[in-house]
């Protein structure tokens, strides 16, 4: 039985992540008075890309060819290392928050290298911007996650989420501050407004799209899917570490079902929030972004100070 739960945990992230992206797109469409595509459109896109032929630049090396596999595989490994619907799965081998942060950094590393590999100006500048933002975001991310681990006295993500709740204790304000810091980093790392525009191919505004501009076919599918996975990972981290309500604490069919329901509900609330933010906010100028990231850093510092 336990094996089944683990298998569920492994396939959960890639299975649900396109749905989240679909929901955000739907919300944005509704707010723009459009009907929008179905929320399952992202699945169809990925499936279509997977069966297409590919064009690869003659300048590309094995880094470009191999990067999508690494980037995608990393999101799966991280998907196993974080609490999703069950905190009783105590993964003490890879479930440390620092290993999760640095595993995600491997994905960023290869994504940025792949952007530089084809030698177009777009890819290079996309990589440069991506690395600038992720370098500044890393401090805020580590400190935000660390706030929660300081409250629970462990750096294991499963152990943190198994507390049940942080808000009923004395730690309401630090938790909320750290979550605010985390949310900013989440927007930065997953390429949402006001950091990046996921829907654009305009050279001045692209970050993530610029890096994967040269991809096509199955490699593009993997890259898009990996981006969706990364979004879901951050959403799940935000939901389970700062508001660990309803997560399955013990083994049992009903608690697991409730765990999944709660997780999806929390993630969908985050999706709605992001959809609304993206609809009523403009993208920031690139050199305004560090201010936002430093704000996230300071919020987390404050949170730690208050514990």
């Amino acid at each position: 039985m336990m094996i089944l739960v683990w298998i569920l945990q492994i396939i959960f992230v890639p299975a649900v992540s396109p749905l989240c992206i679909g929901i955000i797109k739907k919300i944005k469409a509704k707010l723009q008075n459009r009907d929008g595509a179905s929320i399952f459109q992202v699945y169809k896109d990925v499936w279509k890309f997977l069966h297409k032929d590919e064009v690869i630049s003659s300048d590309a090396s094995w880094i470009f060819r191999f990067a999508p596999y690494i980037v995608f595989a990393i999101t799966l490994v991280v998907g196993v290392s974080i609490p999703l619907f069950a905190s009783f799965l105590r993964n003490s081998l890879t479930g440390d928050f620092l290993s999760v942060v640095y595993l995600l950094a491997i994905g960023t590393f290869f994504l940025a290298l792949a952007g530089m590999d084809v030698g177009s100006a777009f890819g290079g500048f996309g990589s440069s911007r991506e690395m600038t933002i992720s370098a500044l975001a890393e401090g805020g991310l580590i400190l935000a996650l660390f706030t929660t681990s300081l409250i629970v006295h462990t750096t294991n993500l499963f152990a943190i989420s198994s507390v049940g709740t942080l808000l009923s204790t004395n730690y309401i304000i630090p938790t909320l501050l750290a979550f605010a810091g985390f949310f900013i980093v989440m927007l930065a790392e997953t390429g949402r407004f006001p950091f990046d525009n996921p829907a654009t191919h305009l050279e001045l505004t692209m970050i993530h799209e610029a890096m994967i501009l040269e991809y096509s076919g199955k490699r593009l599918a993997l890259m898009e899917w990996a981006a969706a996975n990364k979004y879901f990972i951050f959403a799940a981290l935000g939901a389970n570490l700062f508001f660990p309500y309803g997560i399955a604490q013990s083994f049992g069919a009903s608690s697991i079902v409730w765990g999944i329901v709660f997780l999806l509900a929390k993630v969908f609330v985050l999706c709605i929030a992001i959809g609304i933010i993206e609809s009523c906010m403009a993208k920031f100028r690139f050199f305004r972004l560090p201010d936002l990231l430093i704000t996230s850093f300071i919020l987390s510092m404050l949170a730690i100070g208050l514990i």
Binding site: E54, I74, P290
Partner: protein
């Protein structure tokens, strides 16, 4: 067998390998090939011997022997190889081994140009000096070894003497290293004044005789003296110019090992000899480490000279090591010994890891420079197609230094993070804020280092060649590749075995002075995963690696062979908006880092000079050519070294007034000096 291997005789044998290597290469200096063979052979054999010797000594609880010589008072040939020293002998030998293997092929390009014999002579003296520095236990003898190491490395820095910049860099290095030595001499003399001995063991026994404020002075002197060698900011200015000037296999040794001797002596003096440790020492070292780590990586980002970039990363990593060491000192003074040992283990593990990945990076950079005849990254590009293996090894080194699992850099940074987090959990609000700042700085450093190595790898190896030289590059020779390959394997191996190595290194502290009064300490259990203190967390390198490889294989099989088998791949040109794509349209190393530099312009103080030449100089309508010169304000030179220099010059001018040039005056000065010293001696 084991008793011989761990005997003093064997240590002398080890030293004699390098002495033989040194003087032998001088003898055969007439023949380039023979000189190369001689020095490489003795380098490899001696280093292998050193690796075996250090492991045996480490396992057998140390080695201590003294050979008194009555010829010179105080100068006793005293050797004390405890676990700490054995660990550093291991690092020196391991890196020397791979550098010597690499050297066989690398030295060839100096044939007919420079004297190969003298390269071997100084190389071996340099290694000999480092081996002695970490093993001697007598202050005066230590200074001799320290000078041997410094002078030999000076001659290696100026080895490529046809380049004027190298000679300048060497001179700066020589001056700075001796300023550092002056501080060290002062520290040793102060210890001698109160304990009456130059022997480290007896100073340690009588360290209670040294008054507290004198200990504080010794701490500052030693921090500046050894910090200069380690390259802490602001005493680092020699490092980015001296390390790149040396031949690459020597740069690898200097950056990977020599600067660590500064760390070694800090551990020796602060944690072993001078006890007890006040709290502010640890806090000072934490702050120094924090500044060095952050500024080191920021300066590295501004560089487009590949070896200078790596040299600045050495400063960053020294900072990370000091973060571990500083927290260890803090916990020692708080009396929390398990945490202190854990912090020391983190610092030592990072020392080992930095030695492996930094020498790997320097060696692969050396191969690239050898092929392209330039250190400027803007003139590279696309080298992955011409030097695929070198590119792969550089990639491994980049991932290790950016702390990406499963390579070794991640696990020592993980340990450092964990010890800093333990510090944040401490009660005092002041300590807490220091540790929060330190962990924030470490996190930021990690992110910036990642950006810097995307820049270094991307600008060097990816996209299209940006110069003609780059298109003529060829893969390096077999010996160079095997030197780099073995180091790359060790980068992975130290990462995968981190669960075993981590606890082993924490044991080094057991026979240091700071921990000697805590015999109840339980030896850590060897585990397949690294475990943080107070069961805060754990990470298993083997599991991470296995899961990642498994998932990767499954994904590749699924996507490539099951979902999509009939797919065709077409090769085409990169999309270029309809124009002809030129190498000049690629992003450059400078362009890549520009946005980060602008964000940190408050600390980095970038400057831009624009010169435009006109066809019509009077009217200035038609520009002919324009040059943009980007650089940084040299804050240290302008605000620290130049005022100091000015002060010394003014002082010297004042002193000049008593120098009349008349010999009678000088004799009377001597007379006065003799009388005064006679009075003082009473």
């Amino acid at each position: 067998m084991v008793t011989f291997l761990s005997s003093g005789l064997n240590f002398l044998l080890l030293l004699s390998f390098f002495a033989l290597g040194a003087f032998g290469s001088l003898l055969v200096r007439k023949n380039d090939r023979l000189a190369n063979a001689w020095q490489s052979f003795f380098g490899i054999v001696g280093a292998l011997w050193g690796v075996v010797f250090s492991i045996v000594v480490f396992m057998s609880n140390g080695l201590l022997f003294t050979a008194n010589s009555t010829a010179i008072p105080f100068l006793t040939f005293a050797i004390n190889i405890d676990r700490l020293a054995a660990f550093f002998v291991f690092i020196v030998s391991l890196i020397t081994l791979f550098c010597s293997i690499y050297g066989i092929g690398y030295i060839k390009h100096y044939y007919q140009k420079y004297n190969i014999g003298s390269l071997g002579f100084f190389f071996h003296l340099f290694v000999l000096g480092m081996l002695l520095v970490v093993t001697v236990s007598n202050g005066l003898f230590f200074l001799v070894a320290w000078e041997l190491m410094s002078i030999a490395s000076y001659f290696l820095v100026v080895y490529d003497r046809n380049d004027e910049n190298n000679v300048k860099a060497g001179f700066l290095y020589l001056v700075m290293t001796h300023v550092g030595t002056a501080f060290i001499v002062l520290a040793l003399l102060l210890m001698y004044k109160f304990t009456g001995s130059f022997d480290f063991a007896s100073i340690k026994e009588q360290s209670l005789l040294i008054p507290v404020f004198v200990k504080d002075i010794i701490f500052v002197l030693a921090l500046v003296g050894f910090g200069t060698k380690a390259g802490i900011i602001p005493f680092h200015i020699w490092l980015p110019s001296a390390h790149p000037a040396a031949p690459s296999h020597v740069s690898a040794l200097m950056s990977g090992v020599m600067i660590k001797t500064g760390i070694f002596m800090m551990i020796r003096i602060f944690l072993d000899i001078l006890q007890p440790v006040p709290l502010w020492w640890g806090i000072t070292i934490l702050i120094v480490g924090l500044v060095s780590a952050l500024m080191g990586v920021l300066y590295a980002l501004t560089e487009h000279d590949i070896k200078r970039l790596l040299a600045y990363h050495s400063i960053e990593n020294i900072g990370i090591i000091l973060l571990g060491l500083g927290s260890s000192l803090v916990f020692v003074s708080l009396g929390n010994m398990p945490l202190a040992l854990f912090g020391l283990g983190a610092a030592l593990f990072h020392t080992l890891n930095h030695a492996t990945f930094k020498s790997l990076l320097f060696l692969s950079a050396g191969s690239v420079i050898n092929q392209t005849h330039s250190r400027n990254m803007e003139e590279y590009g696309g080298l992955i197609k011409y030097m695929p293996q070198t590119a792969f090894f550089f990639l491994v080194g980049s991932m290790a230094i950016s702390a990406l699992p499963p390579f070794n850099g991640f696990f020592s940074e993980w340990l450092t993070f964990q010890i800093l987090l333990q510090g944040v959990a401490s009660a005092s609000i002041f300590l807490k804020s220091i540790f929060v700042l330190a962990s924030g700085a470490l996190a930021l450093t990690g992110g910036l280092a990642l950006a810097c190595f995307v820049k270094a790898f991307g600008a060097t190896f990816l996209a299209r060649p940006r110069s003609l030289e780059a298109t003529h590059a060829k893969e390096s020779s077999f010996s160079q590749l095997s030197g780099m390959g073995l180091l790359a394997i060790f980068c992975l191996l130290f990462g995968l075995l981190s669960g075993y190595i981590g606890p082993l290194l924490a044991q080094i502290g057991n026979n240091l002075g700071a921990f000697i009064n805590f015999p109840t300490f339980i030896a850590p259990v060897l585990n397949n995963k690294l475990v943080a203190p107070n069961s805060y967390g754990s990470v298993s390198a083997l599991a991470l690696f296995a899961i990642f490889i498994l998932v990767l294989i499954i994904v590749i099989i699924l996507v490539k062979y099951i979902i999509n088998r009939k797919q065709k791949i077409k090769l085409g040109a990169t999309w270029d908006c309809g124009v002809d794509l030129k190498p000049r349209m690629e992003i450059t190393a400078t362009g890549f880092a520009r946005s980060i530099i602008l964000i940190f312009s408050g600390v980095l103080r970038p400057s831009m000079q624009q010169e435009i030449e006109y066809h019509d100089a009077k009217m200035r309508y038609l520009p002919k050519s324009s040059t943009v010169n980007l650089s940084l304000h040299d804050v240290y030179r302008v605000n620290f070294y130049q005022p100091l220099n000015k002060f010394i010059t003014v002082l010297s001018l004042r002193v000049k007034t008593i120098q009349g040039g008349n010999i009678n005056v000088y004799i009377s000065y001597i007379l006065v000096a003799v009388i005064i010293s006679l009075f003082l001696a009473q």
